[in-house]
Amino acid sequence: MPEATVALCAAPNTGKTTLFNRLTGANQTVGNWPGVTVTKKSGHFQLDTHEILLEDLPGAYSLTSTTLEERVTRDYLLNSPPDAIINVVDGGNLYRGLGLTLQLATSGLPMVVVVNMMDEVRAKGIEIDFDAFSEHLGIPVLPLIARSGEGLTNLKHTLLSVLKQDTVEHPPHISFPPILEEAISELARKVERQVPTDLDQNFIAIRLMEGGDSASRLVERHPALEPLASEAMETRLHVEQHLPMDLPMVCAQCRFNAVRGLIQESVKMPPQLPKDMTARLDRVLMNRWLGLPLFFLIMLMMFQGVFTLGTPLQEALAALFESADSWLRTTAMIQALPELGQSLLLDGLFSGLGVVLSFLPIIILFFLFLSIIEDSGYMARAAFLMDRLMHLLRLDGKAFISLLLGYGCNVPAVMGTRILSSRHNRLLAMLLVPFTLCSARLQVFLFLSAILFAPTVAPWIVFGLYLLSFSMIILIGLLLRPFRFGTAEPFIMELPPYRLPLVRTVVLRAWQEIRDFLYRASTFIVIGVIVIWFLTHFPTDVDPGSAETFAGKIGLFLAPVFAPIGIQWAETVALFFGFIAKEILIGALAVIYGSSNLAADISAQISPLQGLSFMVFTLIYSPCVATVAAIRSESHSWRITLLSVGMGLVLAWLTSFVVYQGGLLLGFQ
């Protein structure tokens, strides 16, 4: 047997990802499904002597798709049926997952069902008769605890025999109203005559009658089905005249009736379910009065944790880079290079990347905390609590989490908008995220406010910038309120039970984010750093960073625009480069001033009020290149991308103007 493809398919919150991580370990690639921004994960594992490709399909309740994720899953199964399916269901709530299981089971594809979270099932006193379950479903059903790995060996054995087709599967029959049943089997007979396929003909017949994308996917793969697709639509219209509801609704009714029957045959519930931890925790965490304060407290602790742990690490890393820099300057290899090469390597690449990479601890911690919040189930609660407020901006509660992510780094925040449920929500959140005060901007603010303001004032300046960021988001949200981007989708959010986050999952997730960040650092930011170095070091016959360099000329050219907001040519040049990555603003200032003591130079050149105006501008003006790229790839729209950049520039100038001129009027310098 050559390499086989196995698809992992389940409703959301069934422990699918935990099982995926168990099976593949760190052997994963993460990307996007073609054409859409839904995360695609695949990995490899060894089964006996065979190499298995495992595809993690997006969470879906049904193949009769209503969400983007469900469409991706359905298209994958219809376009490129895998050699086998592993379907995961949550043992504590079988009803929820078995609707999909039945649809998958009738597809005719080889399949194994795993009932996950058996530890919780046992604790609740629920008894599952696996023999009866397998018997009724016609497919192997196995117990599993993905968290501990119990049942994994058994799953692998069964998967192997399913792949070798040692086990005979006899898919279950779901009974429909007679008129529908007849229509389906008539269509199925025609399908069977038209195309030989790995999918069950009844399954195809139902998909054709569903019409829309389901039918077009099938016709794409089997053009011979084209006439049957239009026939199916006619049949559907005819059948629906005799049914009380439309076809998908009738199918769902029948499917879940079958699910109820299946549960009755194979599950014994205890007379009374024990009061679970989730209900008890929610009484406090979701309390009408306590919920929001506790949420803000948790957020505050997260940010405190990130920065109190991260800042010393960051400083240590920066110091390490600095001493490495001075050591490198003494090495023979570097000294053998021509002067320009030395400068490019050390002043350009090494110092620029040093600045960016010293951010790593903060980003790592941020994602660790975030995946803990996400994995524990608290994320949905946060969305619940914030929904009313976010709805004022025509967003849902989940958008708050995207915005929150922005306070760490805008790029993952923009990427994270894909958790939102409609295009409108995604685009609106994407436009708001760049106004969050990300950790890169925070570095600039911490550095500048410490230099320009007294130690007692500086924290209030940074706090004020946070407040400005919140106000900007609310203001722009209200400004964009009249606009509708695409159709609105209903707000339906599941509240999963609380679970202790798994170290393995949290670490893997954080690692993937870090890999992304390092990738960006090694591409965008290297290019950015080289561009700065070039503009500030050429032409070669003048002092680096002086007004005669290319950068200086650009700054002087733009000076009339920036004069009313108190920003001088040197900072203008720095802002220009801050577009490449905001964290290199300070580094750029250092290069432009050509100084060995940046702090002294800055306090000599910039007044506190000018500095404040500069910080306000830095907060609001167009997002960095990496964020812009993320907005472009997530929105698939240049208009939205340009709107984001343009809106930022205009609002930044206006706000800085108010701050600077207002400050001058009040008599500040």
């Binding site: 309740y61 049904s62 009769t64 209503t66 969400t67 469900e70 504590g92 709530n93 009803y95 929820r96 609707g99 998908p248 609704m249 769902a252 009714q253 879940f256 699910v259 929610d282 979701m286 009408r288 009065w289 919920g291 929001l292 949905a380 969305a383 619940f384 609590l385 929904d387 009313r388 407020l389 709805h391 509660g397 989708e489 209903p490 707000f491 339906i492 959010m493 599941e494 509240l495 999963p496 039970p497």
Partner: protein, 155 residues
């Protein structure tokens, strides 16, 4: 303006008659297995009145906004006394929740599942037991444990 007997309140249980006119919500709920005939209970209402956490009789827990809840065609089948208003509406006591001590406070005044009452005043509560034509007073603390089933006006 239509006078509403009953406002949304946590503890109310509704039977879904049909998934209503909003196709987007109806389709999505149906595919999640939330279908006509099912009972859903309002577990809690979010801060500032929105969204709602709903529990289905199959143990699912979902959040919806009130506009989406209102779009469903539902029939109120059970509610706690705390969610009622003084009215001519008659209720049958369907259950008495709470711990044994709280339950006793309610049974001591003669309330038990099956009897029919009318709410004459709230906070504090005055209930008229229809068959005995007797008035019962209850403190607010007990009102959340008495579960009532609204009766059809002509029944």
């Amino acid at each position: 303006m239509r006078k509403r007997h009953i406002a949304f309140h946590s503890g109310q249980t509704y039977r879904v008659q049909s998934l209503g006119g909003n196709q987007g919500i109806a389709d999505r709920l149906a595919q999640m297995g939330i279908l006509p005939g099912m009972e859903i209970t309002i577990v809690r209402i979010g801060p500032m009145g929105n969204p709602f956490e709903l529990a289905t009789d199959n143990g699912q827990s979902i959040a919806l906004r009130n506009t989406e809840v209102e779009a469903l065609d539902c029939k109120l089948v059970s509610l706690p006394l705390i969610a009622t208003f003084p009215d001519t509406q008659q209720y049958r006591v369907s259950a008495i929740n709470g711990n044994p001590r709280q339950q006793r406070k309610l049974t001591d005044v003669g309330l038990r599942p099956g009897i029919v009452i009318r709410v004459e005043a709230t906070r504090p509560y005055e209930l008229r037991i229809i068959d005995e034509d007797r008035l019962v007073r209850l403190a607010q603390a007990e009102a959340q444990y008495l579960m009532l089933q609204p009766l059809e006006p002509d029944a």
